[in-house]
Structure formats: structure tokens, C-alpha cells
């Protein structure tokens, strides 16, 4: 393997609730990666689990026609590299130079989990968090408009500790990565960010550092509602894409149809 590594089992920075993973950490092998350097390749066999210690990485795949898909970004504390299959379906590359990633030999980790229920729970928990993350990500991807996607993305980045300390969100990845993550063109990402900037919803310190000025507005965009500041626009002519649809729909009527088009009543009470 071409992976540079030290064998210093270093404690994971950034892990939120400081778990008693000491025994697991004994297995850790720490690797340092430069920008775009590969942590593992597509079709590799699965021999390790990984955890980001410092920096950030992306999980991606290329399709036949040369386009790229980014399936996930991982940040300090995130455990990744789980897979139900026999081989990797994606490759993982560091985004920022000096990214530190710990890897845990899978068989040994599994054995450890076998005799230590606490470790097994922790791993399970990490997997569950990974699922939750993927689901939320799916929800963002599934949004229709560029404004919704980008707003959702900014909120996600803001929430995932990537920023934390200062009020600013750090976007370690280039616009290209954002575009591939959101399944849209780089230009549209850029345009949408500018739109948010001119609306004063966000402010750029530099292209990679954003401050969220109006989080409420972002959340509003992300869930596909009407423009907050602007007037409800009594008429429908010059309406732009963001003051879409009407305000809050009420259920009440009980139609059996569980369609998208409008609101359905059904028995669910999802927010």
C-alpha cells in the first residue's frame, strides 16, 4: 500500500462525546494525506474502517461518462468506510492538505467488538449516525431548486462542526466538490452563493469562509418556503423562483391520495 502512516495511536480530536474507545484506539494507525490524495480506492477490498482526526475528505465515484459524484463529506470525528459489500464502491480522498485519518484493521476491530459490548455499541452508533447523515443528505439532494440545495448545504456544513468556534463556516472543499455533492453545475453554485450574498443572508470573508447572517432565512429557503423579507407579492407576474407556492397548507380534508403535488392529509404528522 502506498499510504503513508505512523503507528501513533493518537486520540481523535473533534469527537464530540469523548467515548471510551481506548481499546479500539490501540488498533489505530494514523495516516497523513495531502489534498486529493486517496485514502482508499474504488474496488479495493475492505480491510479497514476509518476515522477522520483532522482535516476533511470526500467520498466519490466516477461514472462512465466522466462525471463525478460526491456521496459524502467526512469531518473530524466521523467514522467511515463501512460497507455491506465485499469491495469498495467509492473512493475517498482528502480535501485539505495535512488531513489526518486513523484506520482500524477491520477484522481486529470486529473481534474487539465481539468481546467488548461497549465497543460494539459505539461502532453501531457510529454506523447509525452515518445512516442519519446520509438520510439528511438525501433530503438536501432531493430538493428541487438550486437555492434550496445550497441553503441546505450551508446549514449542513454549519451544523457539522466544520465551523464551530468562530461564527464563520469553513468550506474546505472547492466549488467543484460542492457542485458534485449537490448534483448541479459549478456555475450555478457560484451564482446561488452570490444571490445569498446580495440578499445579505451570508457574507464571505474569502471564498472558503462564510458567515451566516440570517440563519432563519437559510432554513426557510432550505425547506422551500416563501421569501421572508420580500412582500408576499400579491400578483404572480414577476415572481422569482423563491417565492414559490402559497404559505402553509392545512390538512383537514381526508383524501386517500398520498401524492406529492399538493398536500395530502393521510395519517402522518411529519413536520
Amino acid at each position: 500500500m502506498d499510504i503513508p502512516s505512523t503507528s501513533i495511536p493518537e486520540l481523535v480530536e473533534g469527537t464530540a462525546p469523548d467515548r471510551p474507545l481506548a481499546a479500539l484506539e490501540q488498533l489505530a494507525i494514523l495516516g497523513r494525506y495531502d489534498t486529493d490524495q486517496c485514502v482508499y480506492h474504488c474496488n479495493d477490498s475492505i480491510e479497514h474502517w476509518y476515522r477522520v482526526v483532522r482535516g476533511a475528505a470526500r467520498s466519490s465515484a466516477l461514472s462512465d461518462d466522466g462525471r463525478r459524484y460526491i456521496v459524502d463529506f467526512v469531518f473530524p470525528g466521523d467514522l467511515f468506510g463501512f460497507c455491506g459489500q465485499r469491495a469498495r464502491h467509492f473512493c475517498v480522498e482528502a480535501i485539505v492538505s495535512g488531513t489526518l485519518i486513523a484506520r482500524y484493521p477491520r477484522d481486529r476491530a470486529e473481534k474487539l467488538a465481539d468481546c467488548n459490548p461497549q465497543i460494539a455499541r459505539n461502532i453501531r452508533q457510529a454506523a447509525f449516525e452515518s445512516i442519519a447523515r446520509m438520510q439528511k443528505r438525501t433530503a438536501i439532494l432531493g430538493r428541487a431548486s438550486a437555492l434550496e440545495k445550497v441553503s441546505g448545504f450551508l446549514l449542513e456544513m454549519s451544523d457539522r462542526g466544520a465551523a464551530a468556534a468562530t461564527g464563520t463556516v469553513f468550506l474546505p472543499m472547492p466549488r467543484y466538490d460542492i457542485a458534485d455533492y449537490l448534483a448541479m453545475a459549478v456555475e450555478t453554485v457560484s451564482r446561488t452563493l452570490t444571490e445569498l450574498r446580495t440578499r445579505r443572508t451570508i457574507v464571505f470573508r474569502d471564498p472558503r469562509h462564510v458567515s451566516i447572517c440570517d440563519r432563519g432565512a437559510l432554513e426557510h429557503f432550505a425547506s422551500g418556503l416563501i421569501d421572508p423579507q420580500r412582500q408576499p407579492a400579491t400578483r404572480r407576474e414577476q415572481r422569482t423562483h423563491e417565492d414559490l407556492s402559497r404559505s402553509l397548507p392545512q390538512p383537514v380534508i381526508s383524501s386517500s391520495r398520498t401524492a406529492t403535488p399538493k398536500v395530502q392529509s393521510g395519517e402522518q404528522r411529519c413536520s
Copy 2:
């Protein structure tokens, strides 16, 4: 609780590799659901894990403006309802009438896993498969065009045992659900299916039963999302707008730009 249930711990049909989950199955409570009936709601606390025994279900959420998105479909054998958080973020509803779903009290299942490593491994495996499924799903959603999305969807449905026996794929969900799953309009789903039909790529027995006539073409449309396990497929010759671009990129050069636009040289060799 309004959930109808019997306490017959029935063996799960459709589970592929017949696992020794006997002890876990002792905990199972079987429920029967009609179409659109809710298995659990959004914001419910997390008290069970679930497994589809027969039928199918969808995991979905509503956004503020009344649109719905479907995060996942689950079929017989699929274990679901894992969650890193404290409360559900989605609700799950049966798609077909007579859907059978087993539920396992979470705390008791966890305890069982604590003292039975094999069960712990099985649960972990199920979680990993769930992750893999979500990732593949993300790849489909991330595809740009309607044709790609729908083709990817059909392949997914075909692969996920939903069909199996006969050569035809059964689509248990209405078009609306497909639309919300793929984040597109129902009309577009319909139009795209007709296009595939006129191209003779697929044939409908009825709106819910499709036969895939030219799987190679579908894979080609879906362009690269193919499950690596599957056989090399037919070939890519007479296809439309796609050209096979270059083959495999060599490592070596370290270009900093990992762009989408065209093909970049980078060091990855994802298929």
C-alpha cells in the same frame, strides 16, 4: 399504540442468507399494515427496530411547503428504523396492503447484542447494508437527467429482489412515490417510462409490472451506477449520446484540480 399486531415470531421470508437470528426473532412482534398505514411517525421516539417480512414500505418526510420526499423504500429482508438521533426524522408507511413488518424492542435487542456477538455482527451488517443502499441511492438521485434517474431506479428495483422469480420487475409503489423518490415530477416519470417503452428497452405488462428487455441499455443510460458485482453487462456499442471517453486514468501526476467539468487526471481509479 394503534398498531395492529400479533406476537407470532415468524421467520422472515425473503431474507437472503438465512442467518441465525433465532434469539433475535424471539423478540419480534409482527404487525400487519394496509396501504398508506403508518409504521412509525416523524418525531416518534425510537423504541423499535423493524424488518420487512412481506410487502413494502416507504420512508418519507414532508417539508413545510407540503412537498414530500421519499428517503428510502424497504422490501422483504430489509432491516430499518436505525437512527443515530433521539427521535425519528422520517415516517414509514406501508405501500402495499397486507404488508407484514416485524418490530424488535430496541433496548432488549441491544442487550441481546451485548451478550451475543453473532447478533451484534448481524445487526452491524444490516446497518452497513443500509448505508450501502443509501449510498447507491444517492448516486441515482445525483444523476442529472430524467432518463438516468429512471433507468437507475428500474435497475435498483430489479436488483433488490423486488422482482426475483419472473423476469418482470414489480413496482409496488404508485408513480407519485417514484417521483418523490427521484425528486422529479410525476409527469416526467411517466414520460420517461414511455420513452423507455417506445425505445423497446422495457415492456409493461401493466403499470406496475415491467419487463426489462435491454438491461444493457438501461445500465448505459444510468451510466456507471451499475452494481460492480453484476456481470460485465452486454456492451456499450450502439448507444446514443454517450461516448466512452477515456479509459482508466493513471495515478502519478498530482493535479490539484479535482473538477467535474470533464475528466480530470487525479489519482483515483474509480470505475
